[in-house]
Symmetry: C2
């Protein structure tokens, strides 16, 4: 085992430091957040920090970098209150990654990257057409993480759209059946294969 | 696509609701947190919510359920300030899952589950011997999520121990080389295979 001390990784140049610190705590979820601006411009952006917060009520959270530069997803969510979360699959992971480029506010990342938007009846925000798990979420709150100025955004899950083939009888969603990917670090995308579902652990 | 509304999933019995809401936002990291009580009893517990918060300074966060019943990991971390985060691999995922059983405070989950502890020179908290990525972390702060009473714990990364075979020249850790698993829902464990590392996205 190699031991890397804090004083060592704090002295690394930016890119290797980002690589190391982003990859050392395991796999991350791979989702596209769909949103819409008050001017009606749809936006789609890759997020690897969307995390389960609780099941009753159904809540998720995600991390946004400090809002010192314009963050279109954030301003859209604050205005419209609703947004979509869409699982990324192997078939559009390159296009999903490309949404992290710094497009200007007037550009729809759907058009720029070729990801196809899906509009659902009665819902204002765009979804990702080819995604097998799509959530409609509602902004609830945000917490400023004082330690680095990031925002922890809290949202409720309002609707779940799921491809029937992934949905088990006990309502567990088997992600590998939909070729949903997972993220390793900043730029590594991995496919997965279910090993097993383990029984509820008892003493 | 099946559409499941909030009113539907709020009416589901507990287990299917947990299955659905825990699996709908994608893959989760699979880690064991190692800690020690003020009486010197080591503890190890599985966590699927450990998330990257920032690289400079190197920070992570994780979610703890409301502290209405005793949480040994939490009380240990608050007392000792330090804890370890250890990537779970295919070879000990069953033992790792078993740490979620409700052992009493006097029991060391290392002994109860057969996970081998590793003690490092000059460090008070236990690590998991067979884990290829081990972090020494320091408790910094916590935020109460008012929406459901969970705690978001913030910690700094002080040391990274990593198997050389996983560590790339650019300091990216390739997790599949160490058979690190990822979690799908509450009880699904999946192995992964790297598809590709995608280039930095530019407009």
């Amino acid at each position: 085992m190699t031991c890397l001390d804090k004083s060592f990784f704090e002295s690394l140049p930016k890119v290797p430091r980002l690589n190391l610190i982003n990859s050392c705590m395991g796999y991350k979820s791979a989702n596209l957040i769909g949103s819409i601006s008050s001017e009606g411009i749809p936006n789609v952006a890759v997020f690897s920090s969307i995390t389960h917060l609780g099941s009753d009520p159904a809540l998720l959270g995600f991390i946004l970098r400090p809002p010192t530069v314009p963050r279109h997803t954030y301003s859209n969510i604050k205005e419209a209150k609703f947004f979509s979360v869409n699982a990324i699959t192997e078939s559009f992971m390159s296009e999903a990654h490309q949404t992290s480029a710094n497009y200007s506010e007037e550009v729809s990342e759907f058009e720029a990257t070729g990801i196809e938007a899906e509009w659902k009846s009665g819902i204002e925000v765009p979804f990702v057409k080819d995604s097998p798990v799509q959530l409609l979420c509602k902004y609830l709150n945000e917490y400023i993480i004082q330690e680095n100025g990031t925002l922890h955004v809290i949202a409720s899950i309002e609707k779940i759209f799921v491809n029937e083939e992934l949905l088990n009888d006990d309502y567990w969603i088997q992600l590998d059946k939909g070729n949903v990917v997972t993220i390793n670090g900043l730029d590594g995308y991995a496919k997965t294969t279910l090993l097993s579902r383990l029984p509820y652990a008892r003493v």
